[in-house]
């Protein structure tokens, strides 16, 4: 090996060791665990069971219920965050007095600690003493059982998540909008393009890479939604608002079924990787075109 290469290796060695210790080893070890049955604390030894944990995933109705709830969060939560975030970004992408202040105010929910967000929404949603039901009653509507009903609890979590994360989508898309050169708008205007056609044929195509990144980040985050579930409903009533991340936590750190929890983690990883690839391919496909 050349002396130069040895020196280079010497410099990157600490990083390689750290990566091996905190990323690669846990990745390999957790995969091995996913092929074992290991219920810590029960006195039973760890035993190799092959693909049994993975087969159990397909028959576990609680897991599929959690997947369904995660799907609702992706569809309604991330979907609404995108639509609201884009609308706000378009509104704020113009010059007006106090714009910086308005943008900062919009960003506040995102700056608050997720735990505090959960506590705030728990108070807001309180059936008897919460301000939301108080306002509903003031406008002569019936109070809503936000957290104590199996038909509304997951949507209450989604609503709080929308409030918290729409600003992220907004600020990312606003940055994308501001990167579009003014000349393009002027050229479109000269060519007689309407505001709608300018949006459809200039703004959207140029904003597309930013949209893909913003939505992809939110999709990955939504797949991991945990804090709001713990603080608002603990997955209840029953299991009506359990998400995949919450169920995985219960399996791993409440029931201490480490083998099954590991297999669930790999299942989630596979789904996230597939979704990310679809998004990134769509981006690359557009670039090629």
């Amino acid at each position: 090996m050349k002396k130069r290469n040895v020196v280079a290796l010497f410099f990157v060695l600490p990083v390689i060791i750290i990566l091996l210790a905190i990323s690669i080893f846990p990745l390999i070890y957790s995969f091995y665990l996913s092929l074992c049955q290991w219920d810590i604390g029960t006195g039973a030894a760890r035993t190799f069971v092959g693909a049994r944990n993975y087969l159990r995933l397909f028959t576990d109705s609680r897991l599929w219920n959690a997947m369904r709830n995660t799907g609702l969060e992706l569809l309604f939560g991330v979907g609404t965050q995108f639509l609201l975030g884009l609308s706000l970004a378009l509104l704020l992408n113009r010059v007006f007095r106090g714009r910086s202040l308005v943008v900062t105010l919009f960003l506040l929910p995102m700056m608050i600690s997720p735990v505090v967000v959960g506590c705030i929404w728990k108070i807001i949603y309180h059936y008897q003493y919460g301000p939301l039901n108080f306002l509903l009653e003031k406008i002569r509507l019936s109070p809503v059982n936000w957290l104590g009903s199996s038909s509304t609890s997951i949507y209450s979590i989604i609503l709080a998540d929308i409030w918290e994360w729409t600003p992220f989508v907004m600020i990312t898309l606003l940055a994308g909008l501001q990167a579009i050169p003014d000349e393009l708008y002027e050229a479109a205007k000269v060519d007689g393009a309407t505001r709608v056609s300018t949006f459809l044929w200039i703004v959207l195509p140029l904003l597309r890479p930013v949209i893909i990144i913003a939505v992809l980040i939110r999709v990955m985050d939504a797949f991991k939604i945990f804090d709001l579930v713990v603080l608002l409903t603990m997955g209840g009533p029953g299991q009506s608002s359990e998400t995949i991340a919450f169920y995985n936590y219960l399996t791993g750190f409440k029931y201490f079924s480490m083998g099954y929890a590991s297999s669930m983690t790999y299942f989630q990883l596979a789904i996230i990787v597939i979704i990310a690839n679809i998004f990134l391919k769509s981006w690359k496909g557009r670039e090629m075109a």
Partner: protein, 471 residues
């Protein structure tokens, strides 16, 4: 060379002296909030008496188990003193993660004879050895609004409707009658006053981690048991279980709509805000209810035993559950178990009356001496009220029904809790829900090792029998 040697010797001597000068530092872990306060209150005394400094780590109530277990599995020695929920004591002790206290007890008496049998034998022992000292004696009690119960107009209306006198409900049927009677809508009258918001007959802990205990109060009084001792078949879907869940479903109609989202705080608040006639709750609610800073119904709270079932001989068979509770244990990896023992003994013996008799903690009485001193409970407006409160708690304590403490308890209790919630929210019938829960319990049992679990369950049951807590 000589200079270097002298320098090193001096350095070692100085470091040694410095370490002597500083007290031993012990790490305490427990559920964050009011129950950790005594560790701060007596920090100076721990230093002066035992030469110990404490670092207190609070973790959320629902996460204490996993935080402790992860450190214990890894044998990290992160904690010296641990607040442990008794249902996990068997698991922790069986795995050798806790320090047995018998040798220390022989040297420094923790006055275990003063501890009531349920807490002494059920909370602190495993396999014939003592692994913990009691810190918080939890049992469920019935709290009700005695001012409303004594109201002449309400008494007359109740008698006209149900044909018997309005009184503290002693059976579950009476409980349902009283709950139905006091459930009123906003605008209706209660004790002559027009209600500004809805008023509820009762409420319960609806979150799935503890809901089993509120169902369990009825189940146990109907003679229910967790498993068949001989076959280890789950017995939660027995006739007693189904009847208990049907009763709970009836009770659900008289509760706030969002009761399935209620944890400890919400259940405490609905009662202490004056919006509910009666609740079944832990003893600390009685103390907090007497504190004007925390309660709008000071002086209006009565305490009694949880309802039960009237037997053929006319006696009432009631079995309140003993969920939660707290004991103080020492990690097997503790850096100084003897000093840790002195600390936990001090809290369990010397300061315990002060700690359980204040509304600033959630700690509840567990020693005979705690019940013998009603004057210590200064939040009550008079000693008689304190005496009534303590008598009510003691009445429940004598009939306490132990919480299951097998390894895997969290999974057993939570799967049962999920199914109870599903029945109460109308997703399933009580029978379907409990049959499904029993099926899941069988799966858990087989996965965790049926024979091992059976052996442990039989040991537990014989311990409960010896303590007079099991028939």
């Amino acid at each position: 060379m000589k200079r270097i040697t002298v320098f090193l010797v001096v350095l070692v001597v100085l470091l040694g002296a410095a370490s002597w000068a500083y007290a031993v530092k012990l790490v305490v872990v427990g559920d964050a909030g009011h129950n950790l306060k005594p560790f701060d209150w007596y920090a100076q005394q721990f230093k002066e008496k035992f030469d110990v400094e404490l670092e207190v780590i609070g973790v959320p109530f629902g996460e204490l188990y996993e935080k402790e277990k992860m450190e214990l599995i890894g044998q990290t020695g992160a904690y010296d003193v641990m607040i442990v929920y008794p249902k996990f004591l068997a698991e922790f002790a069986a795995n050798g993660w806790l320090y047995p206290l018998d040798e220390f007890i022989a040297q420094l008496d923790p006055k275990m004879d003063d501890v009531t049998p349920g807490y002494r034998d059920f909370y602190c022992k495993y396999g014939g050895k003592i692994y913990a000292l009691p810190y918080d004696g939890d049992i469920l009690n019935l709290y009700y609004r005695k001012d409303l119960l004594e109201n002449e107009e309400e008494k007359a209306n109740f008698k006209a409707k149900y044909g018997y006198d309005l009184k503290v409900p002693e059976t579950w049927e009476e409980f349902l009658d009283v709950a139905a009677f006091f459930t009123r809508k906003k605008g209706e009258k209660l004790a002559g006053q027009v209600l500004e918001r809805d008023f509820y007959g009762t409420a319960y802990y609806g979150q799935k981690d503890q809901i089993f205990a509120w169902w369990g109060n009825i189940f146990a009084s109907l003679g229910g048991v967790y498993f068949n001792e001989e076959t280890m078949e789950p017995a939660i879907n027995s006739e007693a279980g189904i009847k208990a869940l049907e009763m709970m479903k009836t009770m659900h109609q008289y509760c706030p709509q969002d009761v399935l989202a209620y944890g400890y705080e919400e259940l405490k608040d609905i009662f202490l805000e004056g919006d509910c006639f009666m609740v079944i709750q832990w003893p600390c609610v009685g103390k907090k209810g007497a504190d004007p800073a925390q309660s709008k119904i000071v002086g209006k709270i009565g305490v009694s035993h949880v309802p039960g079932v009237r037997r053929e001989d006319g006696t009432i068979y009631y079995r309140p559950l003993m969920p939660c509770g707290r004991v103080l244990a020492i990690s097997a990896e503790s850096r100084d178990p003897w000093k840790a023992y002195q600390v936990i003994r001090y809290l369990s013996v010397e300061t315990s009356l002060d700690d359980v008799s204040t509304a600033e903690t959630g700690l509840d009485p567990y020693r005979y001496s705690h019940f013998a001193h009603p004057e210590a409970y200064e939040m009550f407006t008079n000693v008689e009220d304190a005496r009534i409160y303590l008598a009510g708690v003691q009445k429940n304590m004598e009939k306490g029904y132990p919480e299951m403490v097998l390894p895997g308890t969290v999974e057993y209790e939570e799967t049962l809790g999920v199914e109870i919630s599903r029945a109460l929210s109308g997703e399933k019938t009580p029978k379907q829900a409990l049959d499904d829960a029993a099926k899941m319990w069988s799966e858990i049992l087989n996965r965790l090792g049926k024979e091992n679990q059976k052996k442990m369950y039989q040991e537990l049951v014989s311990g409960w029998r010896a303590a007079g807590l099991w028939e």
